[in-house]
Symmetry: none
Subunit: 194 residues, 2 copies
DNA sequence: CTCATGTTAGTACCAAGTGCTAATAGCGGG
DNA sequence: CCCGCTATTAGCACTTGGTACTAACATGAG
């Protein structure tokens, strides 16, 4: 016997979780037991067969395909935009965005919303953040909706620079202020931020 | 003949696209032709069989499932920590962290790593970011490893405040500098950041 | 020694196909 | 009316990755 049953089953569970696309035969090789043993293990652990596992993953994604698309590019949903001038986005704070201990939203989510918005408000898609100053004025909690307003306050197209100020608030109360110095990338200068 | 072949094939294509989980037999019933005809149609249209279609959907979702995770807990892996003094974390930039257009890492990932580290280096888990100043010095690309070093530069335990400086670099070159003013939350003061 | 547990082997069967051959239906042209 | 063509249908062997079940065997504990 290599390792007791329990350990193998634990490992089995983990490795299927990590890669649901593995067949019983492949598993039997990696654990150096027979295919039947793998099947018995799966039964005891109530792990469905390969096809059912794959189907499960597929159905899940198919169902929230609509959900996952908009979240991809910009953090938060842009509800109004006037290129090179101003933009507004909203972001609903959910349980996964907060510290478990105190239910307060992690700073990087506020930053991500503001920064994404600053990038979006710049006319070109090729904008990078160079510098920024942030103030986290009040804690935000799960269930609250953050409204971020971005405004281009100073634009120097000749120098490929612009300054964007973002103010985020929850129910009229300002919770976050950020100023961003943005760099407008051109085709030639790509990657040469100094 | 019900409807010419062409129309059936068009409809077939549409209905598989809409619901990839349909079997040939089910299709043969809805189009009132034999299973073999459906198979021939699929071949002409180069549509894979049910299992392959499902697998395709599953693989797709599985791939961007990994995408949605990283902004979750601590960003980057902490490899050294001395509470209240300093800490180091590494973060491998992957394709999902960069802008598609120019392959440059999005600012909020660098911020997230630095901010997480700043929170972690504080002795208590109940630390919040109050203010911060960031400089994005050089663009970081997919495949590169960011090493972030955090240092507590000024601590005022009596005022529940501390300043943390984080310097991130890729292959000895500094790419990002951030200073964070942190607020140390106590049980009583919870949520009363002013 | 016997019994329980764990493991392996083997068989029949299933779903949802592929690949192939062959038969048939329907229609148009000459 | 028969020829040829396309489209359709049928049938069979085979594949993957299993389930369900039975039987054999090994090993260690009581």
């Amino acid at each position: 016997m290599k390792r007791p049953k329990k350990q193998r089953q634990q490992a089995l569970q983990d490795s299927i979780k990590e890669n649901p696309f593995v067949t019983d035969e492949e598993l039997s090789i990696t654990f150096d037991v027979s295919v039947q043993t793998i099947r018995l293990d799966r039964m005891e652990l109530a792990i469905p067969e390969l096809r059912e596992r794959i189907k499960h993953v597929a159905v899940k994604t198919f169902e929230d395909e609509v959900k996952s698309l908009p979240i991809d590019e910009v953090i938060g949903e842009i509800i109004d935009i006037e290129l090179d001038k101003k933009a507004i986005s909203i972001f609903d704070v959910k349980p996964e965005h907060v510290f478990q201990r105190n239910q307060i939203a992690r700073g990087h989510h506020l930053f991500a919303q503001a920064n994404s918005l600053a990038v979006a408000v710049m006319n070109e898609e090729l904008a990078l953040t160079v510098k920024s100053e942030l103030q986290f004025l009040r804690p935000v909690r799960a269930g609250q909706r953050i409204v971020a307003k971005a405004e281009v306050i100073d634009s120097h197209p000749e120098k490929n620079r612009a300054f964007v100020k973002v103010v985020s608030s929850v129910e009229q109360q300002t919770v976050f202020i950020g100023t961003f110095e943005m760099y407008r990338m051109t085709e030639q200068s790509e990657g040469d931020v100094k």
